[in-house]
Amino acid sequence: MAEIYVDVRGETCPVPLVEMRKAVRKAQPGDVIEITGNNAASKKEIPMAADALSLAVISIEELDDIWKIKIQK
């Protein structure tokens, strides 16, 4: 099980979702993908996309407008 890091700080719609999807496609089952960003809409929408892709959201953290979302493939 690998940890994959995706940094989309400064990126706006639709790039955070797209980069999350690219990482998920490349990941192996069981891998954890951690996405870091600061686009407010994406913080809501990445968990929505994870749900649509039947992936588990492990955690959502936010500090000083930077959020980190962990999902597992």
């Binding site: 990126e11 706006t12 639709p14 790039v15 979702l17 999807r21 690219k22 929505m48 649509a52």
Partner: protein
Amino acid sequence: MADKTTIIVQSGDMDKLYSALIVSNGSLAMGMEVSLYFTFWGLLRLKKGGLEKGPLSKMHFLGLGKKMMLGRMKKNNVASLERLMADFKELGGKIIACEMTMDIMGLKRSDLIEDIIDDYGAVGTYIQEARHSAITLFI
């Protein structure tokens, strides 16, 4: 995958191509399949070097409005159409070029960005794609 988005890209305007590609990339990111059917003015954006050439649908002002809009988009770190198209293809999006429009506009396949076009077709091709789609749009 059962869910699918099918969009007729009829407009060649820059802002509308943004709408089409953003909806498409969102759909792909959320696990759907996507087909874009480029027709009429939209097809001109598939000409070699044509992707970024569209005018703004409003306040174009001979290119000045577009320039200002691109400046504001850059400031807000909005991805270029080239980038959105590259992402679209990487995530498995499909592009269909309308053959009738090619005839009307006198365009040959070699005039178009052939490596991103998956199929050339007419209305039947679109209906086959659209009838199984949860989302269909005309942009």
